[in-house]
């Protein structure tokens, strides 16, 4: 696969075309993130299971490039079931891999389909696109855990 094919794997193009997790409930707490370079934006909410204390679901709205939109979609698939500590660690590992300039591959066991975003790490200018939804979730975690 060429670098471009690694960046735009079919799984990413599919998620960009038919994203999962879209939709916000009026009034729910959300985080709005914007990439000032290109105007991409994501507003994301985390829904918590009061009984288990873990993420029950993710809702988001946004507009932007296929990487930012697919990444939000993939995040929506992978975040549910994680406690806030687990999610924080998950986001940090994701960031470390994306900032590694291709040195670290995301583990498919751990990241599921979101591992397809590994190809972004070779494109420094696109890391911010892929991080947009994840930064929104991190912002909500910071607010939740104060």
């Amino acid at each position: 696969m060429s670098s471009l094919e690694q960046l735009y794997q079919q799984i990413i193009l599919d998620h960009a075309k038919s994203p999962h997790g879209r939709g916000l409930v009026a009034g729910e707490e959300s985080s709005h993130q914007r990439n000032p370079v290109c105007g991409d934006e994501i507003t994301l909410a985390l829904r918590w299971d009061a009984a288990t204390g873990s993420v029950a679901g993710v809702g988001w709205e946004g507009a932007g490039c296929s990487i930012s939109q697919a990444s939000a979609s993939l995040f929506s698939d992978e975040a549910p079931g994680k406690s806030s500590e687990e999610l924080q660690a998950f986001i940090e590992e994701f960031r470390e891999a994306l900032r590694s300039r291709g040195a670290i591959e995301l583990d498919e066991e751990r990241f599921g389909d979101a591992a397809a975003l590994s190809g972004v790490s070779k494109y420094v200018a696109r890391v911010k696109c892929a991080m947009l939804a994840w930064v929104a979730a991190e912002d909500l975690l910071t607010r939740r855990d104060g």
Partner: protein, 429 residues
Amino acid sequence: MTTSEPLTPVEVDSLRADFPILHRKVNGHPLAYLDSAATAQKPAAVIDAESAFYRESNAAVHRGAHTLAAEATELYEDARGTIARFLAVDDDEIVFTSHATEGLNLVAYALGNASAGRGGEAARAYTLGPGDEIVSTELEHHANLIPWQELAARTGATLRHIPVRDDGSLDLEAAAGMIGPRTRLLALTHVSNVTGAITPLDRLVPLARAVGALVVLDACQSAPHLPLRPRELDVDLAVFSGHKLYGPTGIGVLYGRREVLNALPPFLFGGSAITSVTLERAEYLPAPQRFEPGTPRLAQAIGLAEAVRYVEGIGLERIAATEHALGARLLAGLAGIPGLRVLGAADPTARAALASVDVAGVHAHDAGQFLDDRGIAVRVGHHCAQPLHRRLGVTASLRVSAGLYTTADEVDRALDALSGVRAYFGVAS
């Protein structure tokens, strides 16, 4: 339009040899640099001129009596003279700034300082306050937009914008209704950095003249591409950046009509700009020195003068004719690609060799990445013109822009890549 002959392909090839960066490869392909509207590449003569200054003549200018100081001062003032002749104005009407953005901020702050009562009797003609109006347009670069927002907020003046029509052109009838007795300032671009459209200054400037308003021109996208004559255009102030004119970064030019510059109070304060200073107050030198406090951008100004000599050696009329043909080729090619929309395609004749497109179903960033993979450098995003993009119904676009070294083959490579973008991203068969 110009009657000059375009450069021949052989001439363009020989000019390309002057630009070292054009010989590198990107992602395994020869670089096709189609982002000159963002910044132009530099000929070796410019790179060498900057380097030679540091190697041979570096010293502080306008002070000190030693030989190097005298040489550096002469080189710096010669650079000013070169720019002045390039614009067909006088040397003392040229102010060096860090970039065009600083030039526009300088004008806005000088007017703000005049409005705050600084600058004495001479500056009183340039005060703004409640009831006064600043008129700009809906298609400006943020650099020619935000300074006026801030000036209006500081002075209580009202900021109005000449609207853009669906075809990307300025609504001249609305302009005629907007520019009136309250108008004190008209700030507008010469060439849009998004649509490439050349502003019909002959229709707009007289409206401002008739009511005695000051006219400020953003010439960033015109200075590298067509002969720029501020006096013929009848504008009071004009700015452009050096790096878009094949010169170094960190240098810009503000042209100001002598009477206006000498009446405006300074913006930045410090050494080199004064005649006498006490602990309580300062007296300022006439323009341009009053606007150039601190150690000037010497190597950059000298590099820019070399860039100006370089384009003058080719002839801006010939550059304009060459780029016009490239622009026509680009527009014709884009029109033939399904699913592409050219932003502001109003008048194909009155525009610079650049075009911004919206690719249906594909975000500009993704399309740009696809081109980059083939070694083609284009700009993606809002090009620092968010209001115009919003007005035209898009958040981002992909811009292809030419320079004097651009070849028809490079334009064709971009067209070929753009024709494959939608299929690659699965939005067209």
